[in-house]
């Protein structure tokens, strides 16, 4: 990992994801954490952390034997769900909670397979969760026959031809696009000459075609299948980097109209309010669909039409996709209630009130830890914790992402009170 992103990871992301530390705090592993997690904890609202290399988690996924139980698109085990089909949604902690909640099942399967419980580093936990979240972004392969239908029904053949089929000549033949394996290139091509296309469509009285979900991928597949372009070279695209996409978002002045986490213009909808939990081509379709309005607004605002080169569009889409990955702060009073209803208090105390099986968490928290370190240790010691839960006849404490956020907020508040006293 590059030093820059490593630093970003350690200092920014998980200090804000520390709500995940809650559950660990509630268990017997806390004493270990005190000595192992020196990074400071900051109770700030979710910051701008984004994974820079989401696909890196694939290696972790394999090395930790996740493939023994789970498949990705049919390759791997069938004990758990195929994770390319069971796409995860929600924030980082929502995913972390899913991971946490299936620990008891994992423990059983690891024992059956006679495998040692996996040990993760902080980076590995971050990578694997980001990776699973990213799978949906990667989309599905295009369908050739559907692609042909879309080209016809969307009126593309009014201006373009492909594969020697009869079509319009106002626009260029699409055959050349064959070399671009990624449908994002197709989007990029039409986006970059969007104003000219719009003018042409206006002059011809043609309605701007709208796309949804998988349609762009299907169209790309059809072009590649029937194109008469003879060069065999194929250009693939690297999946976008959300960090780079954030830079693109600002550089292309998207923030002049759209806000993220309350920062940015209000002319267009806030990106916090738009559900973009879909594939890259799906997000690209949304961008394209509001292109006409964008174009007129930008003219009024005297903003230049943004064009994209290289992987800028993939980066931008990755950034938009990952906006929903970031957790909002939890609610401390709710967290306090949960601390009791989840029976945490039967083992752990806060300020001397509660059980004594585990450590006093307010005191522990006052030492301040990095959230990712806590989460990592929580997972690494989950097998041992599972044994404890089993032997005491307790049920595994299931947590939602929101519960993790809330309890974390409570513990942070408690810890701050302790340290101020």
């Amino acid at each position: 990992m590059r030093q820059e992103s490593k630093t970003r990871l350690q200092q920014s992301l998980f200090k804000n994801m520390i709500s995940a530390s809650l559950f660990l705090v509630m268990t017997m592993v806390m004493p270990l954490l005190v000595s192992l997690c020196p990074a400071p904890l900051h109770a700030e609202p979710p910051s701008d952390w984004l994974p820079s290399e989401p696909l890196k988690g694939r290696i972790v996924f394999e090395e930790k034997h996740c493939t023994r139980c789970h498949s990705i698109a049919g390759t791997g085990g069938d004990i758990g769900p195929d994770l390319a089909e069971s796409y995860f949604d929600g924030t980082f902690l929502d995913l972390a909670s899913i991971f946490w909640n299936h620990v008891p099942d994992m423990v059983v399967e690891y024992k059956r397979a006679n495998l040692a419980w996996p040990q993760f580093s902080d980076e590995e936990v971050a990578h694997v969760i980001s990776y699973l979240y990213y799978l949906r972004y990667l989309g599905a392969p295009g369908d050739v026959s559907r692609g042909q239908d879309y080209l016809k029904t969307k009126g593309c053949f009014s201006c373009h031809s492909v594969g020697g089929e009869p079509g319009g000549r106002r626009g260029p033949a699409l055959d050349r696009l064959k070399m671009y394996a990624s449908p994002i290139y197709v989007v990029q091509a039409i986006w970059n000459h969007g104003p000219e296309m719009q003018a042409m469509m206006n002059s011809m009285g043609i309605a701007r075609p709208k796309f949804t979900g998988q349609e762009i991928a299907d169209i790309g597949a059809y072009i590649r299948a029937v194109s008469k372009w003879t060069m065999r070279e194929s250009v693939y695209l690297s999946p976008g980097d959300p960090n780079d996409g954030k830079v693109v978002f600002a550089r292309k002045r998207c923030d002049a109209c759209h806000s993220v986490h309350g920062v940015g213009g209000a002319t267009g909808p806030s990106m916090d309010d738009v559900d973009l939990s879909m594939s890259a081509t799906g997000i690209a379709a949304i961008m394209w669909n509001h292109g006409a309005e964008m174009l007129s607004t930008m003219r009024e605002e005297r903003i230049k039409w943004p064009t994209f080169d290289g992987k800028e569009m993939a980066d931008l889409i990755a950034y938009l996709y990952f906006i929903r990955f970031i957790d909002e702060p939890g609610n401390a009073p709710r967290g306090q209630a949960l601390f009791e209803t989840k029976q945490c208090v039967s083992c752990h105390s806060i300020g001397g009130v509660g059980g004594s099986v585990g450590p006093d968490l307010s005191m522990r928290l006052s030492t301040r830890h990095s959230g990712i370190s806590v989460l990592t240790k929580m997972i690494n010691h989950a097998a041992k914790m599972s044994e404890e839960v089993l032997s005491q006849g307790e049920r595994w404490p299931v947590l939602t992402g929101q519960e993790m956020r809330d309890i974390f907020a409570y513990l942070v508040a408690t810890g701050e009170e302790s340290s101020s006293e």
Binding site: K56, E62, T67, I72, G74, A217, Y236, S238
Partner: protein, 819 residues
């Protein structure tokens, strides 16, 4: 430098020394003082480095375990796609080569007679000046062609650099001497492929190996073993079956469901017997054959003449009863194999070295590969898969000066000007002949890198005679061996664990791949990377030779070469077994796996992991994968036909006779069976000699390691020595018992070793392993065991001149009882 017992050294480091417990070996390692100090006082921190094994051509990735920076163990790199973490005995014993006490420690100049072992040390500056001065003189004299270079094979960056050096210098005399150089020929004749394809063993349901001992002596044995083990798994669509056909019971035979011992050199006849059943009972893929194959059916040419096709030839001649008489296996078994091959899809036939090492070897291989054609198993899962190209960055073209241009117009000294072999003449015999006769010109200077032709080539005797004729020989050997004994100057290369290196395009591997090896330790001695030495020599020579090397070092050249992979964005740095599916997943969606922002970023990860590969290369339709002129598989061997018709003085029939081809008419130009020829009077020498290779001692370098010597005959329970395999009936006739000392003699000499009686050996056959019998090679190798190449006749394949290692007749005699 301290000589220390291997076991003691590893104990100091807390690493296991159990490997030394086979017997009470007293192996000495020469360990730098700094490492001994580190071992005694270091904190004991364990690290791992991935690199590439260079002890054979298989290209396996290895992982070296270090404690406080001291290498203590070698294992397979679990991420590497060739070996998937597996390692062979040879690779595992790599530390014996690093710490060998007899490594050459600085440049040497010969001070005594050749072979006397007398050397004087000299500095690198002196050594380079001496060699480059001689090279410059040859160019000044306008005779650059008098320089020759011998390498094992033309793969890898160093081979590219040597080729470039020779072109810029003005000589075509770059000879790749590995005996497997012509193994691609049957594939080129049938399919137009210039590289050995992959046998997709993993996905086949019925593997018929006819002479391919792929588990012990394959091109890339660990890759073959991996495929084999996958084939045997029940969860890949049914446990695949293996039938092995050969004249010797090998490791592959021992692993097979069925082993059918046949007479030596009759592999082609067996394959045609199987083809008969497939055709007769209509198991063949008619749609595939109709569409993609020329010469299967008989045909009428433009002049109205009728020609026999493969089908007719087989049906007329190779009915099972006749084949049974030729090969020595019952007709019933041949029919069974034919039906299994036709019925179980995908079925895969493998030709291999034992089948192709006779005078009829190429024809044998063609007959075996014809079986794959009949069932349409080409470029399909479980079939023959063509190798994909790796997107390396090419070096710019050489700008040869006038001297070089004139030199390059001269023929290579190893060219087969006499047309002795009609197809792809093996260069080695011509090389020997022409060196000895100084025709068409004398060779003045010879470089030898990466091989030991005076020992490990079947024509070693001839090669030694040739070496003795060359006035000036430069060797890059890391340890003294039989070939470096002939050298005048030794420019010692780093041990492979001390240098940068690359490996790729491993024969028999389908996917594009490139491995990068990093230095695991700093060089122990005053040695250098051969690529850097070449650059220094080029600078010393000057002119177009110096200009040909803009790279300042081998390392920068390596980075430049691999920049092509980075720029292509194809494939991925290796990471693990899940990778193939993952890359396909991405590729289907138009994504690539490249997440590196710069070449430096890519390089760092590449070196850390040990390689790159592209498992998701595009599927290629059969018609596009065929590279013959007609874009069809051709059963009519047109290059042979053209050669036969090209004689000004002789008829085609006479030329075929001159080449030793006994078949006539149309059949001569089809994949057909030629009776093998054997050298030696049958009455005096009644047995066929089979020389076979072992995984533990490929190329004979295993003998340098005491551990490998110890386990040389591990599955025959023969340790630290050679042995002679004899059928018990044969042994009984000569009053030989297990363990007796036996002398095996051919017309060219004799060797003696202990007898191992094997029921599974064909009675008319005597088998001896290759690898031992060194007369040089350090304290451990010298004088142990015998080299069967010393009694091999100088007989070749009739078509391509490849050494016919299975064409020597021998006799045996009990000489002395051991124990």
């Amino acid at each position: 430098m301290r000589e220390i017992r291997r076991r003691d050294f590893l104990k100091i480091l807390g690493a296991t020394a159990a490997g030394a417990a086979l017997q009470d070996l007293d192996i000495l390692w020469a360990v730098p003082d700094r490492m001994v100090e580190e071992a005694l006082r270091g904190p004991g921190i364990e690290t791992f480095k991935n690199t590439v094994c260079q002890l054979c051509p298989a290209g396996c990735g290895i992982r070296v375990r270090l404690i406080d920076g001291v290498p203590v163990h070698i294992d397979g790199n679990p991420m590497h796609p060739i070996n998937h973490g597996g390692i062979c005995p040879h690779g595992a014993a790599g530390l014996d080569f690093l710490y060998h006490p007899d490594r050459i420690r600085q440049p040497l100049i010969r001070s005594g007679e050749r072979g006397s072992g007398k050397w004087d040390p000299l500095s690198w500056e002196e050594a380079l000046a001496k060699v480059s001065q001689r090279l410059a003189e040859l160019r000044r004299a306008g005779t650059p062609e008098q320089v020759a270079f011998v390498v094992p094979e033309k793969r890898g960056l160093l081979a590219d650099m040597i080729s470039r050096f020779m072109e810029a210098f003005g000589s075509r005399n770059l000879l790749a001497i590995d005996e497997g150089q012509n193994d691609f020929v049957p594939f080129e004749l049938l399919f137009g492929w210039k590289a050995i394809p992959e046998y997709d063993i993993e996905h086949t349901r019925f593997l018929l190996s006819i002479g391919a001992d792929f588990l012990d002596d394959g091109v890339s044995p660990l890759h073959g073993i991996r495929g084999y083990s996958k084939m045997r798994e029940s969860d890949t669509g049914g446990r695949g079956r293996l039938t092995f056909v050969d004249s010797r019971h090998s490791l592959t035979a021992a692993s097979a469901d069925t082993f059918l011992p046949i007479k030596p050199g009759t592999h082609g006849a067996f394959a045609l017997g199987v083809a008969y059943v497939i055709i007769k009972e209509r198991y063949y893929d008619t749609a595939f054959v109709d569409r993609h194959v020329d010469g299967f059916e008989s045909w009428v040419d433009e002049s109205g003449a009728r020609h026999r096709g493969f089908k007719e030839y087989v049906l007329e001649n190779f009915y099972p009863e006749r084949v049974a008489r030729i090969v020595g296996v019952s007709a019933r078994k041949i029919v069974d194999v034919g039906r299994d091959f036709g019925r179980l899809r995908p079925a895969l036939a493998m030709s291999g070295r034992h089948g192709s090492n006779g005078t009829n070897g190429l024809f044998n291989a063609l007959c075996v590969e014809a079986l794959n054609v009949l069932v349409g198993n080409i470029e399909r899962k479980g079939g023959l898969r063509v190798q994909r190209a790796t997107p390396y960055e090419s070096m710019p073209p050489v700008e040869a000066d006038d001297i070089a241009r004139r030199g390059l117009q001269k023929p290579a000294v190893f060219e087969d000007a006499d047309d002795r072999y009609p197809l792809y003449a093996d260069a080695t015999l011509a090389f020997c002949d022409h060196i000895e006769s100084s025709t068409p010109y004398a060779v003045d200077t010879l470089f030898i890198h990466g091989c030991n032709p005076a020992f490990d080539h079947p024509y070693a005797k001839r090669l030694r005679r040739a070496l003795a004729k060359i006035p000036f020989i430069v060797s890059f050997a890391t340890m003294a061996d039989e070939s470096s004994e002939y050298a005048d100057v030794i420019l010692p290369e780093h041990a492979y664990l001390e240098r940068w290196m690359d490996s790729g395009s491993t024969p028999g591997v389908r996917f594009a791949h490139a491995s990068v090896g990093q230095p695991v330790v700093k060089p122990f001695y005053d040695t250098r990377q051969a690529g850097d030495v070449l650059i220094d020599l080029a600078k010393g020579v000057g002119g177009s030779v110096a200009r040909a090397f803009s790279d300042t070092s081998f390392f920068t050249a390596l980075q430049n070469k691999l920049n092509g992979i980075f720029a292509s964005g194809e494939g991925a740095v290796i990471s693990g077994s899940f990778e193939e599916a993952w890359i396909k997943f991405l590729k289907e969606r138009g994504w690539q796996n490249l997440v590196y922002e710069s070449f430096e970023d890519f390089w760092r990860v590449l070196v850390e992991r040990g390689g790159w590969w592209d498992p998701a290369s595009d599927e290629i339709p059969v018609e596009k994968v065929l590279q013959t002129k007609s874009s069809k598989i051709t059963f009519v061997l047109e290059p042979l036909m053209a050669k036969a018709a090209g004689g000004a003085q002789q008829s085609a029939e006479d030329r075929l006779n001159a080449w030793g081809i006994r078949e006539s008419g149309d059949a001569a130009f089809l994949p057909h069976f030629e009776e093998p020829r054997f050298e030696g009077d049958q009455k005096e020498y009644p047995y066929h000699l089979v020389v076979f290779g072992l995984l533990s001692n490929r190329r004979g370098t295993g003998s340098f390691s005491p551990l490998l010597q110890e386990m040389f005959g591990y599955y025959q329970r023969v340790y630290s020595g050679s042995w002679i395999e004899i059928n018990p009936h044969t042994a009984h006739n000569h009053h030989i018992e297990q363990g007796d000392m036996v002398r095996v003699s051919s017309a060219l000499g004799s060797v003696s070793a202990r007898a191992v009686l094997s029921e599974m050996l064909e009675p008319g056959t005597i088998a001896i392993p290759f690898g031992m019998g060194h007369t040089s090679g350090g304290r451990y190798a010298k004088g142990v065991g015998v080299n069967p190449y010393e009694i091999l006749s100088e007989v070749s394949d009739t078509l391509c001149g490849k050494p016919a290692k299975l064409a020597t007749r021998v006799k045996i005699q009990k000489s002395e009882r051991i124990g």
